[in-house]
């Protein structure tokens, strides 16, 4: 009789070993599904062998999802600032798929709240923390300044840069060129642009030199006399100084 009881206990123990993790995971999966079915959240997930990689992957996707959502909401202000704020509210749920780690990350849409002031200072709605809740009970915004992009070189300008050139030298990536040219076109400030091969032989012209990694390595101005000036170093330069690089030219009106 005692042997029979022992067998029953052993079977129950084995069952609990198998079933309990399944049930626990099922609860997490249910919570994930609940969030996915709600319209109140933005979410992303990644399933990878490494848990940290899964989490960082899910975070990268969720950041892009927040950016997409923001652009669809026509919110004013710096999208990056919204993302920075949203990231404070990212909540993970971790489960397993076989040997793989499934990282599910979500954020409540109402937690992505921010207001942009004219000064460029971003007011970010505070999390419910003690420091953010003043004694009078009003929600006190926490301010965090969005840094203005100012290159060190700009502060020691030796040649005069036009507003377009000042903006030109802030471009650091190949991907930013499109937006820059589009804005100039919309403002009627550009008369032509293209790859270096098609650059006009004469006249003042600007060149953005990029490398194979997509980084802008130089912003140059070709003067009327053909001399090339580097707009950042304010020194004379040459495209030959940038081997294995491509270049986009543009002419301002």
């Amino acid at each position: 009789m005692k042997t029979l009881q022992n067998v029953q206990i052993l079977i129950l123990w084995l069952f609990s070993l198998v079933a309990m993790p399944m049930m626990a995971q099922s609860d997490e999966a249910k919570e994930i599904n609940r969030i996915k079915l709600s319209k109140d959240y933005l979410y992303a997930e990644a399933t990878m062998l490494n848990e940290a990689e899964a989490l960082s992957g899910a975070q990268a996707i969720l950041e892009m999802t927040v950016a997409d959502w923001m652009s669809n909401q026509n919110k004013d202000g710096d999208v990056n600032a919204y993302i920075i704020n949203a990231k404070q509210h990212f909540t993970p749920i971790k489960t397993m798929r076989g040997q793989y780690h499934r990282a599910f990350l979500y954020v409540k849409k109402s937690d992505i709240i921010s207001v942009t002031l004219d000064s460029g200072t971003m007011v970010i709605a505070a999390k419910n923390t003690e420091t953010a809740t003043p004694q009078d009970g009003d929600v006190q915004p926490v301010t965090s300044e969005i840094p203005t992009i100012t290159s060190v070189e700009e502060l020691r300008t030796a040649i005069t840069l036009t507003p377009e050139e000042q903006q030109l030298i802030t471009i650091t990536k190949f991907s930013e060129v499109e937006g820059y040219i589009t804005n100039l076109e919309q403002a009627g400030r550009v008369s032509g642009y293209g790859k270096k091969k098609t650059m006009p032989a004469e006249g003042v012209c600007h060149l953005l030199v990029y490398n194979r990694e997509g980084s802008i390595v130089a912003a140059l101005r070709r003067e009327a006399d053909g001399k090339l000036m580097n707009l950042k170093t304010h020194a004379e330069d040459n495209v030959k100084n940038y081997p294995d690089c491509g270049a986009i030219w543009l002419q301002f009106k």
Binding site: S26, A29, N33
Partner: protein, 333 residues
């Protein structure tokens, strides 16, 4: 004891009750179409699991698929049979110009009777038309490569465009493995430029080894595909894998993308014995002006390493010598 065993059997049955996968699809404005899409995904995944368990072919007759989709699914199954281990799925439908797209369908690649030599976890994408019928079923690119591009902030800020490009890169890869001639005919533009590198080993008359040289051969679409299809017909199996990816968007012509891939190419003879293998860089110039019908205008292949000193030791090809978007000028048309 009898009562105990009955209760235990019931508990085990309930725990293991995993026959039908519950599928819920969100963001479809028509409830009838939504229900039809959910039913299709559910039937497909249930059938995949049943076919896996029985070690048989996938039966697509109950799925009401078009011949094209059915053939594509069968080819995929032949190469990479899969199963779904999730019991309940909530999937978001993304609106496309032709209907909806459902992504992130979790699958485990499980070859029948053998260990799969690639990463096991993949995700599937199903495109539905406006009537809720399946237009295409394909796997997304390997998760490691997917994240490599998603995490890089190089050229693209748009998540959808990134996913679209990566989807087509993966469809391009599987077209070789599936010997899908139709897809390759469609994806290469008629004026496509194909450049293939070849390592030429050099020696002096005295037999002294000199550095290897790479010579490049230019081909048109027809010439390239004819040679490729001859390999398809003569070989038993082709295995193309990508383990590195770099995506660059054209700065001015923003619907054009340069994709550089590190590729492994293996062929197997009809009797199953290994044939040829090489590793190299493939560069593809993609044109996404028509998102539904993207085209490849340029494909290049270069070895990833060769003897550059004459010492007999292969060293990696310098990155500056790998073809990229900057090497090609695009015409205005």
């Amino acid at each position: 004891m009898k009562r105990f065993l009955t209760l235990f059997a019931l508990a085990v049955t309930l725990t293991a009750q995993a026959d039908n996968i519950q599928v819920q699809i969100t963001d479809v404005d028509d409830s009838n179409i939504q229900a039809a899409m959910e039913a299709t995904v559910g039937v497909l995944l249930d059938e995949a699991n049943a076919a896996q368990a029985a070690g048989r072919e996938l039966n697509t007759t109950e799925m009401h698929l078009s011949d094209d989709v059915s053939t594509s699914l069968s080819m995929l199954w032949e190469n990479t049979p899969f199963q779904c281990e999730d019991q309940s799925l909530v999937l978001r439908a993304l609106t496309t110009s032709t209907g909806w797209q459902v992504r992130n369908i979790p699958l485990m690649m499980r070859p029948i009777g053998g260990k799969f030599n690639e990463r096991e976890y993949h995700e599937a994408v199903i495109d539905f038309n406006r009537k809720g019928h399946v237009e295409s079923f394909h796997l997304t690119i390997d998760q490691q490569l997917y994240m490599q591009v998603i995490k890089s902030n190089l050229e693209m800020t748009d998540l959808r465009r990134r996913q679209l490009i990566l989807d087509y890169v993966e469809r391009f890869r599987t077209a070789y493995n599936e010997k899908n001639k139709y897809f390759l005919e469609e994806i290469f533009s008629d004026d496509a430029l194909i450049i293939t590198g070849k390592v030429v080993s050099q020696r002096t008359k005295d037999g002294i080894k000199l550095p290897d040289k790479i010579t490049y051969k230019k081909q048109g679409k027809r010439e390239y595909l004819n040679s490729l299809f001859a390999i398809f017909d003569s070989k038993g199996r082709i295995d193309v894998s990508f383990d590195g990816i770099d995506v660059m968007r054209h700065p001015v012509k923003t619907d054009f993308y340069g994709v550089t891939l590190h590729q492994g190419w293996s062929t197997y003879n009809k009797n199953g014995t290994p044939g040829y293998h090489d590793d190299g860089y493939v560069f593809l110039l993609w044109d996404f002006r028509d998102e539904q019908h993207p085209q490849i205008h340029v494909r290049t292949w270069q070895p990833d390493a060769f003897d550059q000193s004459g010492s007999g030791q292969k060293t990696p090809i310098p990155k500056s010598q790998v073809f990229s978007l900057a090497d090609f000028d695009l015409d205005d048309d």
